[in-house]
C-alpha cells in the first residue's frame, strides 16, 4: 500500500481525533512531506480514524504512525500475507492492527521493534525488503 502525503499538521484531523493529553491537536506537526509517497507497513485505528505506520522523514529505523487524513491512497492493495490482529484490553480498550503476520499476531512486536529487539528488527527489515521489492515491480 502506498499513500501520498497531502497535509503535515493535525489541522486536518476531525475533532474526535484530537487529544491534547496525547500530544495530538491541530498544531501537531507530523514529520512527513507534502506530495511525497510513503509505503505503509501497518494500519491501526485510534481516536476514530485510521493511522498508517510509515517510515517518516525523521529517519528512524522503525515506522511511526501518522493519521490517515494526512494522506491520499495511491495504491490501496495490501500484500497477500497481511492479516488483521484484534486485541482486546477491556471494553474500552480495543486495538486492531493490519500488517504482516509477525506484527498482526503479536501486539508487543512494535514495542520490541522500537526498543531495538534484534529479532523484531530483523523481521521488520525482511518485511520491508519484500514491500519495497513489490513496490518496484
Amino acid at each position: 500500500m502506498i499513500a501520498c502525503c497531502t497535509a503535515t499538521t493535525g489541522e486536518v484531523l476531525p475533532a474526535m481525533s484530537r487529544d491534547s493529553s496525547a500530544g495530538i491537536d491541530g498544531s501537531t506537526e507530523f514529520p512527513v512531506t507534502i506530495s511525497r509517497q510513503y509505503a505503509v507497513y501497518a494500519i491501526t485505528i485510534y481516536l476514530g480514524v485510521a493511522w498508517y505506520y510509515v517510515l517518516d522523514d525523521d529517519g528512524h529505523d522503525w515506522p511511526t504512525w501518522v493519521p490517515a487524513p494526512l494522506f491520499e491512497v495511491v495504491d490501496g492493495s495490501l500484500p497477500p500475507s497481511w492479516r488483521i490482529g484484534y486485541f482486546h484490553f477491556g471494553k474500552e480498550d480495543q486495538f486492531p492492527i493490519v500488517s504482516f503476520p509477525e506484527w498482526a499476531e503479536d501486539h508487543t512486536f512494535y514495542e520490541r521493534l522500537v526498543d531495538g529487539d534484534a529479532l523484531a528488527v530483523s523481521v521488520f527489515e525482511e518485511r520491508k525488503r519484500e514491500i519495497e521489492a513489490a513496490r518496484s515491480l
Binding site: 500530544g23 529517519g59 511511526t64 520490541r112
Partner: protein
C-alpha cells in the same frame, strides 16, 4: 507549593508540577494580584525566577529543566547530580543531599534500637545485671548491621535496575518461574546542548503518543500508579542529527517518567 489563598479564602494562584519540578500548570486566579510574584514553588523552595529558573534545595541548586542538580552532592564521595534517586514520583529531595544517607541513618537508628532491645531481653531472661558498656556495644552492632543491610540491598537494587532485565525467580517446587517487576528507571542525563533542549521540550509536554498497550504497563503501574500508560516521543530537528526522546506518560494523571534518548 500548590496554592496561594487569601485570608478571605480566595484562591489567588494554583500550581501543579511535573515529577521533576517543571510547571504543569501555573494559573493566576485573581486578576487583582501581581503576576508571578511568588518565588516559592516546587518542593516549597525558592526558585530563581529572574535568571536561571533553578530551585534552591539548600545544599545545592537544582535545575528542574534537566531534572538534575547543577552541583555534585556534597556528601557523596563521587560526582553525583541525580535528583531524588532518579524517582521523583516516590521521593523528594528537600535537603539536596543524598537520599541514601538519610535512609542509612534511619536504618542505623532502627538497628541500634533492636540491638539494645535484644540486650534488654537477654538481661531480663538471664537475670544478669545491666551493663551500659554492653548495651552500647549491642546498639553499635545493631546499627552497623542495619546500615550494612540497607547499603547491600541498595547496591543490589541498583545493579538489577542497571542490568535492565526482568528478574525471574524459580519457585521452590521447581515448577514455573515467577516474574518480579523491575523498579523505576532513572531519566537519562543530557550529554550536550541538543539533548538538553530535546529533554526540556519533552518535559514541557511537546511530545506525541507513539504507542499504547505497553509491555511495560504493569511495571509502570506498580512503580508510579494506576492509569493509562503510553509511550511518547519528542524529536528535536534542525541540528546535524535529530535527537529523539522517548518517555512514558500516564494519560490520566499526566505524569511523565523515564525519559531516555534513542
Amino acid at each position: 507549593m500548590a496554592n496561594i489563598v487569601k485570608s478571605t479564602g480566595t484562591l489567588e494562584y494554583s500550581y501543579s508540577y511535573q515529577p521533576y519540578g517543571t510547571f504543569r500548570s501555573n494559573v493566576k486566579n485573581d486578576t487583582a494580584i501581581a503576576t508571578d510574584f511568588n518565588p516559592m514553588s516546587f518542593d516549597s523552595e525558592f526558585r530563581d525566577k529572574a535568571t536561571t529558573g533553578f530551585i534552591n534545595l539548600r545544599a545545592r541548586m537544582y535545575d528542574p529543566g534537566t531534572g538534575a542538580f547543577v552541583q555534585s552532592d556534597p556528601v557523596s564521595a563521587h560526582p553525583f547530580y541525580e535528583f531524588a534517586a532518579g524517582n521523583p514520583a516516590m521521593y523528594s529531595d528537600p535537603s539536596g543531599m543524598c537520599i541514601l544517607l538519610c535512609v542509612l541513618v534511619l536504618a542505623a537508628v532502627i538497628g541500634a534500637t533492636i540491638g539494645v532491645a535484644g540486650y534488654a531481653a537477654y538481661v531480663g531472661t538471664t537475670g544478669a545485671g545491666w551493663n551500659w558498656w554492653l548495651a552500647i556495644g549491642w546498639a553499635t552492632l545493631g546499627g552497623f548491621i542495619g546500615a550494612t543491610c540497607v547499603l547491600a540491598s541498595t547496591q543490589c537494587y541498583i545493579a538489577v535496575s542497571r542490568v535492565g532485565t526482568t528478574v525471574g525467580l524459580r519457585g521452590l517446587g521447581g515448577g514455573g518461574a515467577a516474574s518480579v517487576l523491575k523498579g523505576p528507571i532513572a531519566d537519562a542525563v543530557p550529554r550536550n546542548l541538543p539533548e538538553q533542549l530535546a529533554m526540556n521540550a519533552a518535559r514541557e509536554g511537546q511530545g506525541t503518543i507513539i504507542m499504547r498497550y505497553l509491555v511495560d504497563a504493569p511495571r509502570l503501574v506498580a512503580n508510579y500508579g494506576e492509569g493509562n500508560w503510553v509511550k511518547m516521543q519528542y524529536v528535536l530537528r534542525g541540528w546535524n542529527d535529530i535527537v529523539t526522546v522517548h518517555y512514558f506518560r500516564n494519560l490520566v494523571t499526566k505524569m511523565d517518567v523515564e525519559f531516555k534518548f534513542v
